[in-house]
């Protein structure tokens, strides 16, 4: 892997980030409704129009869109993402406490997905058309179809209420890792199980494809042990599509945190974003999207790096 490859990949980020932020800036303002409606609530009926106009102007929302955009970009380049329209807190201050819990949830979900999905899929492939294969694939289809909201409530009900072995809600004591992990178990299972099912299907088909390749037959013909053929030759080659799915799925997992954070009452960026969209809290929406876009870009970058490490052909391309 050479430096030019990394720089090339890195330069793609700039237009991607700019595009995402610009698009969100415009779309959220074109959506019907205004933050002022939310700020005044049903008192808007009884608030004189000149008072409403004054409040709109005080946020600069009476300015033309391009003026608002220019001001936003100018401030953002200086690291100032503005203030929440709902409570005047700086956007960075609103988002910062939620970044860690969201990342923890997404990676814990990924861990659950990889730890369950990959071995299950490989096992199903190696025991094709047996009870193991049918069992794994049936579960995979069922889990893929289960809405995460439903699964979350079910987990809360079973492990928090009926057999109360794990906390029903909350994020644990911040900074106390064992406590945070304890509160992470149910949400991680809820968010990771769909990905586990997806990975199981992907691992199965990828392994089956590789196992039918000539080099696997050659390895067997050389008299290598079955375990060596599978682990050293087949799985390393089957890993490429699996890594692709993991990379893509991490973006899904970050997006999926919204539902999980809501049901399990976890702090996090997903719920913050949804609330901000509902309240038309423009600066917070823009800040969240910026963080999500950055996160997805970093994941894509790492996936590319993983390709290059796994497959020398990518490096020389």
């Amino acid at each position: 892997m050479n430096a030019a490859y990394l720089v090339r990949r890195f330069l793609v980020f700039v237009p991607t980030i700019t595009g995402a932020v610009t698009l969100v800036f415009i779309v959220i303002r074109l959506a019907p409704g205004s933050p002022i409606d939310i700020i005044l609530g049903d008192f808007k009926d009884v608030t004189p129009r000149e008072t409403v106009a004054r409040i709109v102007a005080s946020y600069g929302l009476d300015q033309p869109l391009h003026v608002q955009y220019a001001r936003y970009v100018e401030r953002a380049l200086r690291g100032d993402l503005g203030f929440s329209l709902m409570n005047d807190r700086p956007v960075l201050q609103v988002l910062a406490p939620h970044l860690r819990p969201t990342l923890m949830l997404a990676f814990a979900g990924l861990l659950v997905a990889v730890a369950i999905g990959v071995p299950a899929g490989v096992a199903a492939a190696l025991r094709r058309n047996t009870g193991t294969d049918y069992g794994v694939m049936t579960f995979a289809v069922l889990w893929l179809s289960a809405p995460s909201f439903w699964l979350s409530i079910l987990l809360v009900y079973v492990f928090g209420y009926l057999v109360p072995v794990l906390p029903m809600f909350g994020g644990g004591t911040t900074g106390d890792l064992p406590s945070e992990l304890r509160y992470l178990v149910l949400p991680a299972i809820a968010i990771g199980s769909r990905s586990a099912a997806l990975l199981a299907r992907m691992s199965r088909s990828s392994t089956l494809e590789i196992m039918a390749q000539d080099f696997v037959r050659t390895a067997r013909a050389k008299g290598l042990a079955g375990r060596v053929v599978v682990y050293k030759h087949a799985l390393r080659n089957a890993a490429m599509p699996i890594v692709t799915v993991i990379g893509l799925d991490l973006a899904y997992l970050v997006g999926g945190t919204v539902v999980i954070e809501t049901v399990f009452a976890r702090p996090g960026l997903g719920k913050t974003l949804i609330d901000a969209i509902n309240n038309r809290d423009y600066p917070v929406v823009q800040g969240c999207i910026l963080v999500f876009a950055l996160g997805i870009i970093v994941v894509n970058f790492l996936t590319d790096v993983a390709y290059a490490l796994l497959d020398p052909r990518v490096r020389f391309d």
Binding site: A31, L40, D45, V46, T262, N278
Partner: protein, 512 residues
Amino acid sequence: MRKFSLVIVALLVAALAFAPAPAPAQAGKTLRMGYTADFVTLDPPRITTMPDYPIAMNIFSGLVRYKQDGLGVEPDLAQRYDVSKDGLVYTFWLRRGVKFHKGFGDFTARDVKYSFERVLDPALRSPYAPQMKLIKSIDIINDYQVRLVLSEPYADFLPAVLAFRPGYIVSQKAVEQFGNQFGSNPIGTGPYMVERYVPRQEIVFAQFGEYFGRFRAGARRMGGKAQIDRVLLRIIPQETVVALALARGELDYAPIRTAAAFKLIRNEASIGHTATPVLGRRSLWGMNGRAPLTDVRLRRALSHAINHKEFVDAVEEGMGTTEGMWSEIPPGVFGHAPDTPQFTFDLAKARALLREAGVGPQTRPLQIVFRDTDRAFAQAIRGYWTRAGANLQLVEVGSAPYEARRVAGDFDYLITGPTRVAPDQFLLPLQSDSVPNFYGQIDNLIAAQRREVDPEKRRAILRQIQTRISSDLPMIPVFRPYYVTAFRKGVTGDVANTFYWLWYWELMDVTQ
């Protein structure tokens, strides 16, 4: 691969096994509350929503406050007050020795003047500024006496302004210190103060040891001492989880807002609850100045088509009532008229009136606009109205587009249900300068009741207004929801009031 999985599982199990139990509660009694949303701001003149207001009730005090059992007011930071006969001059004698939280000093008449003038500051963006503008002058007679002179009489001045959110007294020193972050660092004179705040997770409130007095009836019964030392408010967005946590004993106390959670807690033996009808009603506001809703026969037909009792039982799981819903001003608010016209369920009459009005499946569909939280409500209404012969279209929108459509009058019917505290506030949306095409036919009567300081004369005008509104049906009432508060057995002192969810923690006790 198998070994790797086993290692992961072993690590997870070890983490769980060695994870310490949650930190032990601090000394004293703690009330563990649950609510579905974090607060937006605890700066009183900017509060417009739940749970900001009931929290603020425990942090701040006003010159006067609502009584425990209704909407009447009684002195709070004032020891007594006097109102001139023309309703223009209010004089307050203030309580001495009152302290602000966290060492922010003594309360005096200067704080009253500062707090009220602050509401008018354009930088604060308070929706209550127009009400506060009624005060022509604030005269400090001495440190403990203050006089307010109004520009015109306002019969609801005490309950609608001074006892309400804009009337809470803030610490000038704290406002200047915290600036626009005062909403997260509120300093008042109330019985509890914010001890710790973790956004979107929890707020911890500690009892204020120097609180000036606990003279509500309940507090006297407890020997003048608040029993709850700390309140832990957990933010749990999913109300079903709140109900399950109450049932498991992980929470002590929670307001309940959805029918699904109400059903859960009602059937749980370990949970008690109070249910009181709100000061308001859920109804369908119509665009009555636009065809076909200009025809009163159509509006009455649509009211006759709704089986209100069945609606409350089936859609709302019994979380409401139809009692007192036919008058615009609800029972408990000054001027409520109990005997206004009622257009109760009568399907045959509904069909006949629709035919008379020339409305049927062939006419333009009536558009019902509603928020996603009212989906079941809207679907039930579609069922009733379609059965009677009307043609309908349901439009589900998010909060912001809903508000935009409401203000612009972009709907045929809108599902809504604001709650208010003073008669005048119920009537404001019906003025012609409010929502366009909504009503606007009784502006003179609304203005007359506002100016009238003689209670009996005002009551007569309000009666006339309500009879007219009930007869014209600009909004079709459906039911009055309940404020529901659920609590674990062992929690006492919950105040059930039709005015609002009143979390008077100083009156409560909990067995742990």
